[in-house]
C-alpha cells in the first residue's frame, strides 16, 4: 500500500501543481546576453575613448605643425611687410574646420593679421609659435609670432556619433548573437531535450521503452544513449514488477488484481455475443485445519498442488486465478448453456477433490464452488465475482463441498442480506431494534416468574424481522457487543418498570452471543448498568449456547464465574440440539437448562422425546439444575412437562413475545399471588453463594 502511494505520488502531484516550465535556452540567453552586451559596450567605449584621446593628441600635434609650417611661410612676407600676403597665407589655414581663429603678431606685438572662423566653437585650445626670418645676408631674427585657436568640438561630435554607431552595431551584434544562440541552442539543446521528453511521455503512457532518437555525438547524444539504455533496464524491471503485481508469487497464478482486467478483456473480446461466461468461485473447506495440522509450509504445498490441478483440469482458453488464501477462480469464457457450466464446475470440483499426499498422509481436499453464469455482453459482467461469491456463500453456509449456482432466489436473499447489513447502523441510530419479552411461567402455579428478552428489528421497509435472520449480520458486521448492551440496558429498564408495576420478583433473561463470553468487560458493564437503573443483578439471567462454551472454554468459564458472582444466573439455552455434552453441565457454573423446543413439539405423542426429556429432567434434578421447557404451545405439553418434573415453561401457550408495554398490560390482567409464588419459588439464592 505504501509502495503504491509512493509510486502514484509523483503522478498524482503532477497535474495538481504543474511546475512552471522555465526553458533552459531562455535561461542561458538571459544569463549570457546582458553580459555580452555590457562587455561589448564597455569594450567599444574603451576603444573609442582611447581613440578619442589619441585623436586629441594628434590634433594638438597637427596644430603645432600647422603653426610651424605657417610660421615658415609667413616669415618672409611678415618680415617684408607684405601684410596682405600674411593675411592670405593665414586665410588658407581656415579651410581646416577645427581652427577657430588665427592671428599673426609682428615683433612689436601688433596684430598684423587676424582671421576668425564663421562659427564660433566652444572648447578652444591654442597653440602659439614664434616666426623666425632669415636669409642669406642676415642671421635669423624673430619677426613675430603666430597663434592658432582651434576647437576639439569636431572630435567630440565625431566621438559621439561613433559611440552611437558602436552602440547600434553592438545592439545589432547582440541581437544577432541572441538569434544565433536561440537557434543553435534549440538545435543542440532544445531539440534533443524535446526528443527525450517525448520518449519519456510515451514511455509513461504504457511503460514501454521508447528510444530517444538523438544521433549527435555530443553530450546530448551520450545522454540520449545512456537514457535509452536506462529505459530498457527500467522497462524490464517495470515488466517484472507488473508481472509480480498481477500474479500470486506462491502459485504463479494471476491474482485478484488480474481478475478485473481479465473480466474487462472477456467483456470486450467475448467471442459470440450470446456466448456465456462461466465464473467459478472456489473456496477450500477447512484449509485452516490443514495449516493447523500439517504446518504452513505444507499448507503452501497444498495450495500449489491445488493450483496445478486446476490448471491441468481446464482447457487452454480457461482462466485460473488465486484471489488469496484458499480462494480460487476459474473462468471459462465460452459455455453453451448453464447446464454445461454446471458440469464444468462439477468437473473442477471433482479434480480438486482427488486425494493429496501431505507428509505421507492422504488428505482429501474439499471445496465449495459458487458458480455464476452471464452472457459475455452483459453489462454486469464485472459483477461476476460478487455474484459467484453470493452463490459460494450459499454453498458454504447451506451445503459445503458442493456447487451452488447463482439463481434469482439467491440473489434476492443476497440483496436483502446486503440491505439489512447496510441498515444496521441506521437501525441502532433510529432505535429500530426493539426488545420484546416472553414470559416464563411456573408450570405448577402458572405464575409468571421471568421474562426472556428477545430482540426484534422493526425495519421501515421489511417490517419486523426475527433474530435468526439478522443476528448473523449483526455478528458479521461486528455489532454483537453493541446489541448486547442495547438489550442489557433495555432489560434493566424493563426490570425497573416491573418493579414499579409491582412485579419486583420477575427476572429477565438475556441471550449472550458466543463472542460476548470472551469479553472481559461484560461483567463490569452489567454491574454498571444495573447500578444505573438501580436494579439488582440477581434479577438478570444470562442465556448461553453450548457452542459458545466449546469455542473458548477457559475464557467463557471465567466470564461466567464473574457474572455469577455479581448475582446473575446462567442458563444453558437450546439444550439437546448441539453437542449436549453432559460434562459441560458439570464443568460450567450453570443454574438452569432450557430444553430445546424440538423435544417439546412432539410431546406428548413421541415416546422418544418424552424419554429424552425425562432423562434430562432426571439429570438436572441430580445436578441441581432448574429446567425450563421451551416452545410450549398446548396445554397437554405443559401438563406433560410438569409430570416429567420440568418446573418452568415458556411458549405461545402462555404468551407470545411482545413489547414491554403489552407484557405489562398482560401481567396487569393476571392475578398476583405474590406470597405463594415466593413460597413456591425454587431456592435460587443458595445457588449464588
Amino acid at each position: 500500500m505504501r509502495k503504491d502511494e509512493a509510486m502514484s505520488d509523483p503522478e498524482s502531484n503532477e497535474p495538481a501543481t504543474p511546475p512552471r516550465l522555465r526553458p533552459v535556452v531562455r535561461a542561458m540567453i538571459w544569463a549570457t546576453v546582458p553580459v555580452l552586451l555590457l562587455v561589448q559596450l564597455l569594450a567599444s567605449a574603451g576603444v573609442e575613448a582611447s581613440s578619442f584621446w589619441s585623436q586629441i593628441r594628434q590634433l594638438d600635434a597637427r596644430m603645432v605643425r600647422v603653426a610651424e609650417s605657417r610660421a615658415e611661410l609667413i616669415a618672409e612676407p611678415l618680415w617684408k611687410m607684405r601684410y596682405d600676403q600674411v593675411t592670405g597665407v593665414l586665410n588658407e589655414i581656415m579651410h581646416d574646420e577645427t581652427i577657430a581663429a588665427a592671428a599673426v603678431y609682428d615683433d612689436t606685438g601688433a596684430v598684423i593679421a587676424r582671421v576668425v572662423a564663421r562659427s564660433e566653437s566652444p572648447s578652444i585650445a591654442e597653440v602659439s609659435r614664434p616666426i623666425h626670418y632669415s636669409n642669406g645676408n642676415m642671421a635669423a631674427v624673430q619677426a613675430g609670432r603666430i597663434a592658432i585657436a582651434y576647437s576639439h568640438a569636431a572630435l567630440y561630435a565625431d566621438a559621439g556619433s561613433r559611440l552611437v554607431l558602436l552602440l547600434v552595431v553592438g545592439l545589432l551584434a547582440t541581437f544577432a548573437t541572441l538569434i544565433a544562440m536561440r537557434i543553435s541552442a534549440n538545435i543542440f539543446i532544445g531539440r534533443p531535450l524535446a526528443v527525450m521528453m517525448s520518449a519519456i511521455q510515451r514511455s509513461k503512457q504504457d511503460g514501454r521503452a521508447y528510444p530517444a532518437e538523438v544521433t549527435s555525438s555530443n553530450e546530448f547524444g551520450q545522454l540520449a544513449r545512456a537514457f535509452n539504455a536506462m529505459q530498457y533496464t527500467t522497462s524490464g524491471a517495470l515488466d517484472r514488477l507488473g508481472h509480480m503485481a498481477a500474479h500470486d508469487p506462491l502459485t504463479g497464478l494471476p491474482n485478484r488484481r488480474s481478475l478485473t482486467e481479465r473480466l474487462a478483456v472477456a467483456s470486450r473480446d467475448g467471442g459470440r455475443p450470446d456466448a456465456l461466461v462461466a465464473f467459478c468461485f472456489i473456496d477450500l473447506d477447512d484449509f485452516k485445519g490443514i495449516n493447523d495440522t500439517f504446518g504452513h509450509e505444507a499448507g503452501d504445498e497444498f495450495l500449489v498442488q491445488i493450483s496445478q490441478r486446476l490448471r491441468t483440469s481446464v482447457e487452454a482458453e480457461d482462466w485460473v486465478a488465486r484471489l488469496g488464501g484458499d480462494e480460487f477462480v476459474v473462468i471459462r469464457p465460452e459455455v453453451s448453456n448453464e447446464a454445461s457450466a454446471h458440469a464444468f464446475a462439477q468437473q473442477v470440483l471433482a479434480a480438486i477433490s482427488e486425494p493429496i499426499r501431505l507428509h505421507d498422509k492422504q488428505v482429501v481436499p474439499r471445496a465449495s464452488i459458487g458458480l455464476a453464469v452471464r452472457r459475455a455482453d452483459d453489462p454486469e459482467l464485472s459483477h461476476l465475482p460478487t455474484l459467484a461469491d453470493i452463490a459460494l456463500y450459499h454453498a458454504k453456509s447451506k451445503a459445503p463441498g458442493t456447487v451452488a449456482v447463482l439463481d434469482e432466489a439467491l440473489q434476492r436473499d443476497y440483496r436483502r442480506r446486503r440491505d439489512l447489513e447496510l441498515a444496521i447502523p441506521a437501525g441502532f441510530a433510529e432505535g429500530q431494534f426493539e426488545v420484546w419479552y416472553q414470559s416464563q411461567v411456573d408450570l405448577e402455579s402458572h405464575e409468571v416468574v421471568g421474562l426472556e428478552a428477545l430482540i426484534r428489528w422493526r425495519h421501515p421497509d421489511h417490517g419486523v424481522i426475527g433474530p435468526a435472520e439478522f443476528l448473523p449480520l449483526i455478528e458479521r458486521s461486528g455489532n454483537n457487543a453493541r446489541l448486547t448492551r442495547y438489550v442489557l440496558t433495555d432489560a434493566c429498564w424493563a426490570l425497573q418498570r416491573l418493579a414499579a408495576a409491582g412485579r419486583p420478583q420477575i427476572r429477565i433473561a438475556i441471550n449472550l452471543p458466543p463472542s460476548e463470553l470472551a469479553d472481559h468487560s461484560l461483567a463490569a458493564e452489567l454491574r454498571a448498568t444495573c447500578a444505573r437503573f438501580d436494579v439488582p443483578a440477581s434479577l438478570l439471567e444470562l442465556e448461553i449456547t453450548e457452542g459458545s462454551l466449546i469455542n473458548n472454554i477457559a475464557s467463557a468459564s471465567a466470564t461466567l464465574h464473574r457474572l455469577r458472582r455479581l448475582g446473575a444466573t446462567i442458563a444453558l439455552d437450546d439444550f439437546g440440539t448441539g453437542y449436549s455434552s453432559l460434562a459441560h453441565l458439570r464443568r460450567f457454573p450453570l443454574d438452569k437448562v432450557k430444553i430445546d423446543k424440538a423435544f417439546i413439539s412432539e410431546i406428548p405423542g413421541s415416546a422418544e422425546d418424552k424419554a429424552i426429556v425425562g432423562v434430562i429432567a432426571s439429570l438436572a434434578g441430580t445436578l441441581g439444575l432448574t429446567l425450563v421447557a421451551e416452545g410450549i404451545e398446548r396445554a397437554e405439553q405443559a401438563t406433560a412437562m410438569r409430570e416429567m418434573g420440568v418446573r418452568f415453561g415458556q411458549g405461545y401457550f402462555y404468551q407470545r413475545p411482545q413489547p414491554l408495554d403489552a407484557v405489562l398490560q398482560w401481567l396487569e390482567r393476571r392475578p398476583v399471588a405474590e406470597s405463594r409464588i415466593l413460597a413456591d419459588s425454587p431456592p435460587i439464592a443458595p445457588e449464588f453463594a
Binding site: W79, K80, M81, R82, Y83, D84, D106, D107, T108, A110, N137
Partner: protein
Amino acid sequence: MTRFLRIWLAAGMACGVFASAGPSLAKPLDIVFVNPGKTGEVFWDMVAQTMQAAGRKLDAHVEVLTSERNYRTMQELGLGVVARHDKPDFLILSNEESAAVPILEAAEAAGVKTLLLSNTLIGEDAVRLGPPRQKLKTWLGDITTDLQTAGARMANALIRTARDEKWQSPDGKIHLLGIGGDEITPASIARNAGLKLAVDAAPDVVVDRLLFANWTQSEAEQVTTNYLGWASRKQIRPAGIWAGNDPMALGALRAVVAAGLAPGRDIQLVGLNWSEDALREIRAGRLLLTDGGHFLLGGWSIVLLRDYADGCDFAAASPHVEVKTSAITRQNLGSVGDLIKTRAFDRIDFARFRARAGRCGHYDFSLDALISSLPVPEGAAD
C-alpha cells in the same frame, strides 16, 4: 634769328652726313627690337624711342615688337623674327627672366646676329653658353647699365642729407627703408647691392628693411605704410627711403604724406629712372633725386651696331659694354628735364657718340656728354 638757325642746322646736317660717311661705306641696317615691356611702360617706351631716334640718325630701320610683359609672347616674337625669310641684320633682346636664351640659340642656328640689352645672360645660362662670340657666334655682346653704382649713389645722397639734418633715431642711428623691385632680376640685384655697399660703409646707418614692391607704386605705398607703422611702434625715426625705381619712390612718397610726414623736410626719398613724375617731385622739393638715364641704352645700342656694321667692332675693347647712369637733382634738372618731358630724342645727335677711328669700343655715354650733345634750348640760351 630764324635764318641763322636754318643755316646752322643745314651746316650741322651736312657735317653729320660727311662724318658718318667718313669711316666706311654706309649701308642701311635692318634691326628688330623685341621689347619685353608693356605698351605705355615709360622706361621701355623710352628705350624704343631712343633706339628709333638713333636709327633715324644712323641709317638703320628699327622695328619694335612689344611682348606686353609676357615672356611667352616675347619668345614667340623673337623666334618668329629668327624664322623670317627676310632676316634682319640684328636682333636686340633683353634677357628678362632669362627668357631670351631660346631666342639666342635659335638666332645662332639661323645666323642672325644678336645683342642683349639691359639684361644679359646670368647664372647657369652664362656658364653654359660662355662669353659672347664663342659658343654662340652670332651673339655679339651686351650693353648694360652700371646700376650698382647708381644704387650706392642714391643711398649716399640719403645718408648725407640725414647726417646734415641730424635725423638719427633714439638709438643714435640713421634708419633707412629700402624698397627693391624684385630679388631675381639682375637690374634689381645690382641696385640693391649698391644700397648695401653704401650702408655697409656707414656705421651710423642701418637699413631696417629692404622691402620689395614689384616695381609698382601701389605696392610700394603699401609696404611703406606698413614700415612707417612698424617704425613708429619701434620708436624709430625713419630718415630716408631708398626706392629701386621712380614709381616705387612715388608710392613711398604717398605713404609718407599719408603718415603725416613732410617729404623733403622730415624725411628724404630717392628714386631711379628719370621719370617725368619724379622730375616733377624733385622740382617740388619732395624727392631728393632720381638716378638713371639708362633708357638711352636703346640709342647707344644702335650706335654700337652701326659701328660694328661699319667695321669698328665694340668688342675691340670688350663685348660687354657698361654704361654709367647719372642722378638728376634740383641742380641739373633744368638741362634734361625738358628732353625727357617732351621725349624729343631726335634732338640728340647720336652720330657724335660713335667711336673715333682707331678707338673702337671706347664710348662716352655720360650725362655731361649728353647735355653737351643737345642744342642749347632757346630759353636756356636766353
